[in-house]
Subunit: 140 residues, 2 copies
Amino acid sequence: MASARQISGPCQAWPEDGAFIREVLDRIGDKWTVLVVSTLSAGVLRYSDLQASIPGISQRMLTQTLKHLERDGLISRTAYAEVPPRVEYELTDLGRSLLEAVSAMADWAATHHREIAGNRAVSERTGVGRGRASAGAARE
Amino acid sequence: MASARQISGPCQAWPEDGAFIREVLDRIGDKWTVLVVSTLSAGVLRYSDLQASIPGISQRMLTQTLKHLERDGLISRTAYAEVPPRVEYELTDLGRSLLEAVSAMADWAATHHREIAGNRAVSERTGVGRGRASAGAARE
DNA sequence: CTGAATCCCGACGGATACTG
DNA sequence: CAGTATCCGTCGGGATTCAG
């Protein structure tokens, strides 16, 4: 999910259920949310702790992700007005419940990733999913 | 997940588990996969059926999503060499298992979306998650 | 009818510099 | 230490057009 979030009008399908699925998927679908949440499962952590625990993340993305998570009530932020500023982040109960749900997904992934990888490899050889993955030189 | 895929080196965190979580999240995280899969839960459908059943989708995205799903073995594609071309798509067992997992997520979403929406509304008023969502006119 | 190819804008997100 | 602001490249994905 990259662009198109509020631009195109009527996108919410799923006849009866709702659009909150997309709301949630937009959250856990981005590169860092799951990493941050799973890292916070360890307990209370400071900004720099998170940055250190999550190798590839930039300040920009860490801050943004934390804000989104805080806004949705998945984590709590506690700032101490000290001379060396200290801010602690912690999962809320809601955040922990999300972690459980995500873990279920991870469980599924762990169970089937081999099968998926296998199918992908076969498709590679038979030239099925030649859409844009690998294939190397489509036109460039 | 826009840029940074193979450029910055060590991005896969999650100490022990693995990176297939991201593999899966990259798949269900995009805007259309879940919609297509859930639509296909109805049974065998043709290309045009899918396009008609999923309001906002473009041919490009439908084709691309279908290819990815086929490549991963989540759906099967059957083309009939007839004069009016006919192609039918159907969920595989693997695809159905994904649907179950996604339904679990949807379940969680349905259970907590009110709470999340509430938190978000409060943060809106107290000006917490002023990162980039809503806020309307931050500077533009 | 089922795609494939192309154009193009805007969002995602990394790097860097600056502030309290 | 904990962010904020800005620049800018990359990529997602909608619209359109062409082909089998």
